[in-house]
Symmetry: C2
Subunit: 276 residues, 2 copies
DNA sequence: ATAAAGCTTATAGCAACAATAAGGTCAAGT
DNA sequence: ACTTGACCTTATTGTTGCTATAAGCTTTAT
């Protein structure tokens, strides 16, 4: 029982034979004997100690090649610093995962919001809570041009976000604004492009949009934004409301919404109003 | 500006050219045009939308081939279930990382304990807190045999642990016991082999070792356990102490401690005593 | 005309194995 | 002695999402 075949060794240690062959190949655990004629590997039961150590260090997150170095040098200083470093990097990983989880939740709720949105053309009066945005000043007024310019400006926003370390995951919920001074004259001049964010973003990077009552219209095509926005303004006059702030065009994207390779968009156009 | 080269496309989207070529190759984002003669790829700026979606889904943890399916089918049911599943798996990952962090901390403290242990042969009187162990009844008394049998029993313990879902990471701090009834007669018959665990292990799997005052001796070689244990028993008589419970042989492993390919062991032999 | 920048394909590498194929060896039973 | 089935061997490919390199062609600017 002192000479174990690879199959026996694999069974008593709960590793696959492939793994043992792999360990042999990379030199991290070589059998005590290899039959010259048959090539059969034979292990000693004492080698389980080394395998234990490999598995132990592996379970602590060490890579095989680092384990090899470790088992060669027995440099305990090295391993301790590795462990401490690893402990820190795990904290970072946990943080990252929490962010990802957050992003997933936002994606799901965004999706549900899309699903439960009223049909194209619906006008609603809604109270909307305070929102946070990360905003980028536009260099060109895309209303004067087409979707290409809009895409270009989006690129710039995205790049800007990346520079400031903001996650891609916010990019599914964008919007743009036309300031109060312009919208009251039906002058469509977009001042900035933004993404809606949450409280995980550093305060100095974000600004807010005040809570309030908004008259909204839902719109499912890019080209129809302006006609729909005009309907919204007409409705405001008809109802004798007054405009109370900037016009907002919010994009609510269905997750994989691409039609003919283009961005498929669903908009919620919003104007804050005062009801007298 | 409607036809972008791969370099331009890569710059405005902050991805490498290689990545774009790779996406082309796997069919997830194909350029609108490829020059038949030069093979140059040309993209439309509208394709940024698709790239955004790829990056967005990727950032949510989706794999490229799943993204491809998604972008082909637009099956929103599928994506929602994916997101929910993913959200759960992230919880599991976070849990696993927390365990790993815990294991690292234990590894570090175990290492420090090893480093600060007194030299071989030292006898100490120590108060030791309550401890938790996961124990495995031995089928053979390894004291009658050698290290091979000990290794075999260790394999069984390990397998048993694995069956019960216990982490490898506890395996660096093992021990065995000789019951009170035997040790008072200097009968070395080991009843069980165990690993020291912490409070993260389900209660039904573990047992405890009572807190108490122990006379201990430190020992650095496997073959010397019994002579050293006898010295400990002699010392107990000399000091007029009485034995108050089971004899414990605890293994304190230095992390990468393997000498000549064998397990290098450092023992702390312990007998609980009553001082009259 | 020439150089620099930009593009192409093709190949290898990463990490830690798992899966497969095609074939040789061992132990037990008849 | 022979067969069967379990067990072993090497070699190759695949996994994931790219990055890096080499060798060579194209475009753009001077």
């Amino acid at each position: 029982m002192d000479r174990l075949t690879i199959g026996q060794m694999s069974k008593i240690n709960n590793v696959s034979e492939q793994t043992l062959r792999y360990y042999d190949k990379i030199g991290i655990l070589k059998p005590i004997e290899i039959d010259k004629f048959t090539g059969y590997r034979y292990y000693s039961i004492k080698q389980c100690a080394r395998l234990d150590m490999i598995q132990y260090l592996k379970s602590l997150g060490m890579q095989l090649k680092d384990i090899e170095v470790q088992l060669k040098t027995y440099d305990t200083k090295l391993i301790k610093s590795f462990l401490e470093e690893k402990s820190r990097s795990i904290d970072a990983e946990i943080e990252a995962l929490k962010h990802q989880k957050n992003a997933l939740q936002r994606a799901i709720s965004n999706y549900e919001r899309y699903e439960s949105s009223p049909p194209d053309g619906t006008i609603t009066l809604e109270y909307i809570e305070k929102r946070w945005i990360y905003s980028y000043k536009m260099s060109t007024n895309f209303y004067d041009f087409g979707i290409e310019i809009y895409e270009e400006e989006l690129r710039k926003l995205k790049e800007d976000m990346e520079r400031n370390g903001l996650r891609q995951t916010y990019f599914c919920n964008t919007g743009n604004r036309v300031p109060y001074e312009q919208i009251i004259n039906r002058d469509f001049i977009s001042s900035d492009l933004f993404v809606f964010v949450d409280e995980n973003v550093p305060e100095n990077l974000i600004s807010t949009i005040k809570a309030g009552t908004y008259l909204c219209i839902y719109c499912s095509r890019f080209e129809q934004e302006i006609p729909y926005a005009n309907r919204l303004l007409d409705e405001i006059s008809d109802r004798n409301y007054t405009i109370a702030g900037d016009y907002i065009c919010e994009v609510i994207t269905d997750l994989p919404d691409l039609m003919n390779g283009e961005r498929g968009m669903f908009f919620k156009l919003q104007i804050p109003v005062r009801i007298t």
